[in-house]
């Protein structure tokens, strides 16, 4: 049971990392004097990938916990 909690925490950490990467990408765009559009696109794509992984981890661990709790109660 504890393993799933670790997975969920790891998933949320990945989501936080992806949000930070998103912020970095936006900062790249916000720089008026030296806009780095290509770099921003790369960082954004990476952020989306990391976010998807994090959400997948969170969901799988949540679903697994639900199933395991149900099996134990039976």
């Amino acid at each position: 049971m504890m393993f799933f909690w670790f997975r969920e925490i790891a998933g949320w950490l990945l989501v936080l990392v992806s949000l930070y990467m998103l912020r970095i990408g936006l900062i790249f765009l916000n720089d008026i004097n030296n806009p780095r559009i290509i770099e921003s696109g790369v960082v954004m794509l990476a952020a989306i990938g990391v976010m998807r992984c994090g959400i997948l981890l969170v969901r799988v661990s949540t679903a697994a916990r639900m199933c395991q709790a149900e099996m134990r109660s039976k």
Binding site: R23, I27, M66, C67
Partner: protein, 324 residues
């Protein structure tokens, strides 16, 4: 609530049973009595259904009246509108809620905004008024997505009126409660509503269209924010969106969780099996369309509504009720 009154039907069936006990001889007169009892029972059932229907209509009208009055108070903030126009707007809102047309409601709200700001031609409202308008709009949208709230209020009115009390209790038994969601969902939803309203208010007040567009552009350039509404707000909105989606996703039950896990495993590790399952699902769907006219197989037609991800998975695996 199409079932008859259990107490009434119970009483009449007991009386019928008393008259025709096993072992006792039955005469033609007794069979006539039984027929009369059956017809009386049908009449009582019809009367009961009619009463329920009447109370339901009255309850719906009362709810609509309350919602429309609230909308009128929230949206019709300005007193500059004449009474005929106000009544027209009132009727449009009521019609939109009766036939559950979201777009008509939004048009009505826009109509109200247009009347509140005659001759300006720009979106310029005070922040507090705008906040209330957004709350009203979100309330309508939320109410349209929550038909069970309407059902609960109607049941409450039926219970108050004293008609069909047992029937209402039966509908809200353990299975009904599990279907409608937990108390947590009722606590989260208003919070989400307020949060979305506050964020929408902030965004709409700072929108780069309107009277203060020039000022916004200057301040934005001065602070180096070329990307409206700024890095912080965009990241905050995305994070709130992700959080709300995950909270909503956690309302699945065990069978859906099991289905999700098997689907993730299938998609992640067994691509070939996933392809076979998709082909089988397509074949089942085609057969089902030929037989019943519905696009879903019979096993999926009885399933409750599930999130998009899980729905896409059920196409792969028609047998939804499996174990982990």
């Amino acid at each position: 609530m199409n079932s008859p009154d259990p107490s009434a039907s119970k009483g009449s069936s007991e009386s019928t049973r008393e008259r025709s006990r096993p072992g006792q001889p039955t005469s033609p007169m007794a069979s006539d009595d039984a027929t009369d009892d059956a017809s009386a029972e049908i009449d009582a059932t019809q009367l009961f259904r009619r009463q329920i229907h009447t109370v339901r209509i009255v309850g719906s009208l009362l709810q609509l009246l309350a919602v429309a009055l609230c909308l009128e108070m929230l949206i019709g903030i300005s007193d500059s509108i004449g009474i005929p126009l106000r009544l027209f707007f009132f009727a449009v809102v009521m019609l939109a809620i009766v036939v559950r047309l979201g777009w008509l409601t939004l048009i009505a709200i826009q109509f109200s905004l247009f009347l509140q700001e005659p001759g300006r031609g720009q979106f310029a409202l005070e922040p507090m008024a705008l906040f209330w308008v957004i709350v009203a709009m979100l309330t309508i949208i939320s109410a349209m997505k929550l038909p069970h709230l309407h059902r609960k209020l109607t049941d409450f009115l039926i219970r108050i009126s004293g008609v069909g009390e047992t029937d209402t209790k039966r509908q809200h038994g353990p299975s009904g409660r599990a279907k409608h969601g937990s108390i947590t969902s009722f606590a989260i939803r208003p919070l989400q509503l307020v949060l979305v309203a506050v964020l929408s208010n902030i965004i709409l007040v700072n929108i780069p269209v309107g009277r203060q567009a020039g000022g916004w552009l200057q301040s934005s350039l001065a602070t180096g924010q070329a990307f409206w509404p700024g890095t912080f707000w965009l990241v905050l909105i995305v994070s709130i969106f992700v959080l709300a989606r995950e909270i909503a996703w956690r309302k699945i039950d065990r069978s859906q969780a099991s289905l999700y896990l098997r689907s993730v495993q299938l998609i992640g590790y067994y691509r070939d099996l996933s392809r076979f399952a998709k082909e089988r699902s397509k074949r089942l769907r085609a057969e089902s369309e030929q037989l019943t006219g519905s696009s879903l197989p019979a096993t999926l037609q009885a399933m409750p509504k599930v999130p998009k991800k899980i729905t896409s998975m059920t196409r792969d695996k028609p047998d939804a009720k499996g174990s982990l």
